[in-house]
Symmetry: C2
Subunit: 165 residues, 2 copies
DNA sequence: CATTATCAATACGGTAGCGTATGGAATTGA
DNA sequence: TCAATTCCATACGCTACCGTATTGATAATG
């Protein structure tokens, strides 16, 4: 899934990789689609909180949390997220799950900026800019060389985002 | 291609859609891969300059050009770009073409910020932030509702990006 | 007018994948 | 112990593709 996308999740390949036959697969899952739905649900549970929880656990004020967020995201392997996002262009269930995750994350970013004292519109615009940028970095994936990740120009980016305006 | 990704570009489907048989297809193209390579090359030519040229044609100073850029990108249909980006995760040729396009676009953004008097590191950080954000908006595609596009909070975002610091 | 180039149809063999039917082994529980 | 449940294998039919070989049909050209 992460390596080659949802399309590459094939019953027979999977069975072979596990050293069983597909006769077995169809005992555990109704069909291929049931497997994909299960994967999707597992991802959604994990993706919603994984990063946010890490940031919260790390503590600090809102500015510190934002720094933590950039740093964590720069290290995260975005392949699974990317695969789901691609998948969501075709599949309504995936679309739905992804939309929920996006909303949750955006809302979190917004609270960070609100916590710095920004007005709702200002916080919202900043949250969207940052989230879009992070998604962009995810999307471009390995193409974003080290030294070119957002987290590595935080000394420039953060003051920009945080300054009152 | 734009609607369902490179995977959905199938010889027989294409032939049927055109009202011919695949016997004909194989006269025009050596094989499916040759078609994809041709598509890729056409895209690269178009994608490199399409938007930049519009912005330049519109004129104005660097700040005005940046505004124009956001506005145009908000209207653009990013599906083909998205399809290529997805494809590039699997295919080296696509990866290569995409990397070139990304570099070209990033370089253009950088010149805009340099033109505003920013230092190279400052311009570079801003260019990357903006480009990542635009890619993010592209990637999220139709999920980014009207009213939530970057171009619609330019009154907040632009001053942030442009302020000296 | 004959020939050649261009474009398309038909027909074939091959692979990857889905899902079903059915039988067999191992485990568990009354 | 013996029947039910659980897990897996084998074998099958079916579809969507790929690519090739061959044979027209029409248009351009010497």
């Amino acid at each position: 899934m992460a390596a080659q996308g949802a399309d590459a999740v094939r019953v027979e390949r999977l069975a072979e990789a596990l050293g069983v036959t597909k006769g077995s697969f169809y005992w555990h899952f109704k069909d291929r689609n049931a497997l994909l739905e299960a994967l999707l649900e597992a991802w959604q549970m994990q993706a919603t909180y994984a990063i946010i929880d890490q940031v919260e656990a790390n503590g600090g004020d809102c500015r510190a949390r934002l720094t933590t967020l950039f740093t964590i995201v720069a290290r995260v392997d975005g392949r699974l997220d990317r695969a789901i996002r691609t998948w969501a262009e075709q599949d309504p269930s995936a679309r739905n799950a992804l939309d929920q995750v996006d909303s949750r994350r955006l809302a979190y970013l917004e609270t960070l900026f609100l916590g710095m004292g920004f007005s709702l519109p200002a916080a919202n615009a900043r949250a969207r800019l940052v989230y879009h940028a992070l998604i962009g970095q995810f999307t471009m994936g390995p193409a974003v060389a080290h030294g070119a990740r957002l987290s590595e120009s935080l000394d420039i980016i953060l003051p920009m985002l945080i300054r009152e305006g």
